[in-house]
């Protein structure tokens, strides 16, 4: 497959953009990474994702595919000769998809809330984040069945969904002076996180924590300068 047949529109700090890149790496598919400039949206992005105008977008041939987890499932369904990202059993697939949606809709929403919250509100978000991690620790036990990843011996859908947030999790720990993944409370996840970040499909697309920390300061400054969001 020619390299320019597969393109990923994205940006290095985005956990959502990491997801299709990890999936393509698992399948050993070469792709061109087109980086968006922070603060502006390219013509190509606006054309390929007119509904949301957001990254990531996978462009396969001339077809744009949008929404990170939808892209991951697409990659799994197209490149069938590589290792499978989703399990074959329908119930196991449902469980992986359930937790991936939970991570996006509930857990990371609380993480985002933590970013700008103060006082009591901050404590509430922190509690939600910690409770979520306890649930994910339990899910890890059930899904991995003693193996290395949520997907078993190899990285799967839920590993990709949750693991892509590890960079931002480490930044949040530093900024807030808290330990979110903890040997005492979430031992399974602590070891899983190390294995995930070291995996060949992940290593080169997971941003360094220091770089992400610097970026988070730029992001925070931009958000302070932006007009208050409409409710």
């Amino acid at each position: 497959m020619a390299k320019n047949d597969v393109k990923v529109l994205g940006a290095w700090p985005s956990p959502y953009v990491m997801r299709p890149r990890i999936a393509l790496n698992i399948k050993s598919v070469n792709y061109e990474f087109l980086e968006e400039t922070f603060g502006s949206k390219s013509e190509l992005l606006l054309q390929s994702n007119p509904v949301h105008k957001k990254i990531p977008v996978l462009i396969h041939g001339d077809k744009p595919i949008c929404e990170s987890m939808i892209i991951v499932e697409y990659i799994d369904e197209v490149w069938t000769s590589g290792p499978s990202i989703l399990p074959s059993d329908p119930y196991d697939r449902a469980i992986q998809r359930f937790w991936a949606a939970y991570v996006d809709e509930k857990w990371f929403a609380a993480m985002r809330g933590l970013r700008s919250a103060q006082g009591e509100e901050r404590k509430a978000f922190l509690d939600q984040v910690t409770e979520g991690l306890a649930l994910l620790e339990e899910a890890f036990g059930k899904c991995s069945k003693g193996k290395a990843f949520f997907g078993g011996d190899r990285i799967g859908l839920l590993d990709i969904a949750f693991g892509s947030f590890l960079g931002w999790l480490k930044v949040t720990e530093k900024v807030n002076g808290v330990k979110l993944l903890d040997e005492a409370k979430t031992p399974g996840l602590v070891k899983w996180a190390e294995r995930f970040c070291a995996d060949a499909a992940v290593k080169n697309v997971m941003p360094e924590t220091e770089k992400l920390l610097e970026f988070s300061k730029v992001l925070a400054a931009k958000m302070k300068g932006a007009p208050p969001p409409k409710n």
Binding site: Y91, R93, F98
Partner: protein
């Protein structure tokens, strides 16, 4: 014989998606009606995180979240497929269903609970979103083509709840001129045999939604 139970309420549009999927595929199941003001211990056991309906229990194993349940049903029972086979068409179907739940539903609801200038703005946003959906239909009878599929079931609430909200509030959101294809889709979907026979009683839905709209509209009212 496989054991299949569906936990639902009489009115939940999300649970209806599962009812339609099972009925379209001719699958037998038992129904347990829940009263959400007094949730059964079984429901709380099967859906401890969200505590919501629908829950589908297959051979003792619970499945939650309506669109995920639809995918499970489609993968387990292969007759009358809901999703297309081609990966890019599947990705497209999943995209629109997600757009419906993440953006369209709330933007439409906002039209009916807001007032004055806020309502005018809400109408603009909702109609922008509906415009995307209208263009997706582009001359097809259903989002899935000639037969009902995943995206049709995901948008089923538009073919029923919307007209109820429009009637209660006296606001027309989907008019035939601006949205000719969506208007026709609504007729086709609402009148399809398997779908038609499962609509909850309209008068009960009107009463319930009238009360719901009153609560939310008063929350939105300027203080």
């Amino acid at each position: 014989m496989a054991e299949l139970k569906l936990f639902r309420t009489w009115s939940s549009p999300f649970a209806l998606r599962v009812v339609w999927a099972l009925n379209l595929k001719g699958i037998q199941y038992d129904t347990i009606f829940e009263d959400l003001s007094n949730k059964s211990s079984l429901l709380l056991q099967y859906n401890p995180i969200y505590k919501k309906v629908p829950v589908l229990v297959h051979n003792g194993k619970p499945l939650v979240e309506s669109l995920l349940i639809l995918e499970y049903i489609d993968e387990t029972w292969k007759q009358t497929p809901l999703l297309p086979e081609d990966p890019s068409e599947r990705a497209t179907a999943r995209f629109w269903a997600k757009f419906g739940d993440d953006k369209v539903m709330l933007s439409v609801w906002n039209v009916f609970i807001k007032q004055g200038k806020d309502q005018e703005e809400a109408i603009v946003t909702a109609q922008e979103n509906l415009g995307f959906i209208e263009r997706q239909l582009s001359g097809k009878k259903f989002f899935n083509g000639e037969t009902i599929g995943f995206v049709d079931l995901a948008f089923g609430w538009l073919a029923n709840l919307l007209s109820i909200w429009e009637e209660i509030c006296g606001v027309t959101l989907i008019d035939h001129e601006k949205f000719p294809m969506l208007s026709e889709w609504i007729q086709n979907f609402a009148g399809a045999p398997i779908i038609k026979e499962s609509w909850p009683p309209r008068d009960k839905l009107i009463t319930k939604n009238q009360a719901l709209l009153e609560v939310y509209t008063s929350k939105e009212a300027p203080k």
